[in-house]
């Protein structure tokens, strides 16, 4: 296979259809910019979710009057669960003095109680892998049935809401991503089709002197791939520049709000964007060349 030829023809095609090519690169870059922006937001929301997930406390309240051996048995049972990374026993007295400390000078409100109402508890630290709502819910549901357990508590509601929002956002990103891919593929398909069409006469001549279809396809594949890949790279560069400009304005409020820093797309995500653009380019130009051969 003569790559020299393929690149030469590709260069000629590009030069003679330069404006069209640049236009389609521009449009695809714009589409990818939107996609990249959504990915960026999704990524940072994910980070918040993770940060918050890490802070989820699961607390197992013990039934009053649980005996020392029963408690030890329960502790052992809980500790054996794969979700559990660490566990601390808090007696009812400790809980009471902690509460007192928290209330500080208003601790006198507790004076009205003639006995300590707080149950003893096991404070669970979850393994990182299981710090998500589904695992936590499953874990809580099972532990609740253990002997000696009065109640299992975790910050359920707000997390649930946040994760629901996040899930909707992810679906949105997927849908928009799909749309953008379709649109970009269609743009590439059309540009390459125009190039192929404007080259039909010489394609005919090349076939007459013995060129195979797969040989002739290569310059057009190159065209599609170059369009898509350069568009995706341009969009990432623009996104990166915007990021550099706006990062400082966003960093502080973001940190205050979520305790998580913000970050740009990681190299894996960038590679994925560029790679999928390349694939798109191959597909778009292949379809248009194949269509051309049929007529």
């Amino acid at each position: 296979m003569q790559w020299g030829f393929a690149f030469r023809l590709f260069g000629q095609n590009f030069r003679s259809n330069r404006n069209l090519n640049l236009l389609s690169v521009g449009i695809i870059a714009f589409a990818f910019l939107i996609l990249g922006l959504f990915l960026l937001v999704a990524k940072n929301l994910d980070q918040i979710a993770e940060k918050w997930g890490e802070q989820i406390q699961v607390v197992i309240f013990l039934k009053d009057g649980t005996s020392e051996p029963d408690r030890k048995a329960l502790e052992k049972k809980v500790r054996e669960r794969r979700e559990v990374k660490g566990l601390a026993y808090v007696t009812s007295e400790q809980a009471y003095s902690r509460l007192k400390k928290m209330l500080q000078d208003r601790a006198s409100v507790l004076d009205g109680l003639n006995q300590n109402p707080l149950p003893a508890s096991l404070e669970i630290q979850l393994d990182k892998k299981y710090r998500n709502l589904a695992s936590i819910q499953a874990f809580a549901g099972e532990v609740r049935e253990f002997a000696g357990v009065k109640e299992v508590f975790f910050g359920q509601k707000w997390l649930k809401n946040f994760l629901a929002i996040l899930r909707i956002f992810r679906i949105l990103v997927l849908a928009i991503g799909g749309l953008i891919f379709l649109a970009s593929g269609f743009i590439i398909y059309n540009t390459v089709k125009l190039t192929v069409y404007s080259r039909r006469e010489e394609i005919g001549i090349m076939k007459l002197v013995g060129a195979t279809d797969s040989f002739l396809r290569i310059p057009f594949l190159l065209e599609g791939v170059t369009q898509a890949v350069s568009a995706s790279i341009i969009s990432i560069i623009i996104l990166w520049i915007c990021w550099l400009i706006f990062r400082n304005f966003l960093q502080v409020p973001f940190l205050l709000f979520s305790q998580a820093g913000i970050s740009f797309l990681d190299s894996g995500q960038i590679l994925m964007l560029v790679g999928s653009a390349g694939l798109l380019g191959i597909l778009g130009s292949m379809v248009s060349f194949q269509e051309f051969l049929k007529v």
Binding site: E202, I205, V209, G210, A211
Partner: protein, 231 residues
């Protein structure tokens, strides 16, 4: 080498370009195909390099049935043929060099070999001073010689030449004919479509003459000789 049995070609259902053609051409032969304009010469050649398919009949080239060739095999058939097209079929925004070199590029020849062979062949058709020109800047005769160089660059087994001297002056015609006869001597089978009776007289060979799509005479099978080209 080339065999046609009951070959007919009809364009658009009612334009009969060829009918009932039966011809056998042996390896290494030099055959003129002659006849008035519209007789079907170009059509006959087009059937051979599979640019058209016969409406009926069988065509064999080197034992291969071209009338039933699969599309993906066509490029490989064409690589064994050299074709000088009546309308040249040069790519206008490629240089003379690129037009000729393309045939070898398809075949994956090394760049250096390509350069050497292209220059050598262009010299043979007296175009070595026009290597980097573009076809549109060349005269008709010069373009024709580019087409000839492209057809011969890869030492084809069969040369199909459609009026290859139509635009050439007598001196260059003689030079090109000498070139053709030379490669014919080296074993290349040549089919040469022409109106030019003086050419046939100057270089007498087998003559197949067509008229309105029918084969009228074949000098090999009758005693008429090349006189029969006059139809």
């Amino acid at each position: 080498m080339i065999e046609l049995y009951h070959v007919a070609k009809t364009y658009q259902r009612d334009i009969t370009a060829l009918s009932e053609i039966n011809v056998k051409i042996r390896k290494g032969e030099f055959v003129y195909i002659t006849g008035p304009s519209g007789a079907g010469k170009t059509t006959l050649l087009k059937l051979l390099f599979a640019a058209e398919t016969p409406s009926s009949g069988q065509i064999l080239i080197g034992g291969k049935n071209v009338s039933r060739i699969r599309p993906r095999e066509i490029p490989f058939l064409r690589r064994q043929l050299g074709v000088v097209f009546q309308d040249f079929k040069l790519i206008n925004h490629w240089t003379v060099f690129q037009n000729v070199a393309f045939v070898l590029e398809i075949l994956g020849f090394p760049r250096k070999d390509i350069r050497r062979r292209v220059l050598q062949t262009l010299k043979r058709v007296q175009l070595n001073h026009r290597v980097e020109s573009f076809p549109q800047k060349l005269s008709g005769g010069e373009q024709q010689r580019v087409a000839i160089a492209r057809a011969l660059i890869n030492d084809p087994k069969i040369l199909l030449a459609d009026e290859p001297t139509g635009n050439l002056d007598p001196d260059i015609t003689q030079e090109i004919m000498t070139f053709f006869l030379e490669i014919n001597d080296r074993g290349t089978t040549i089919l040469f479509a022409t109106h030019d009776r003086s050419l046939i007289q100057a270089y007498p060979k087998r003559v197949i003459s067509l008229k309105r799509g029918s084969l009228i005479t074949d000098s090999e099978e009758s005693s008429g000789g090349f006189e029969l080209g006059r139809t």
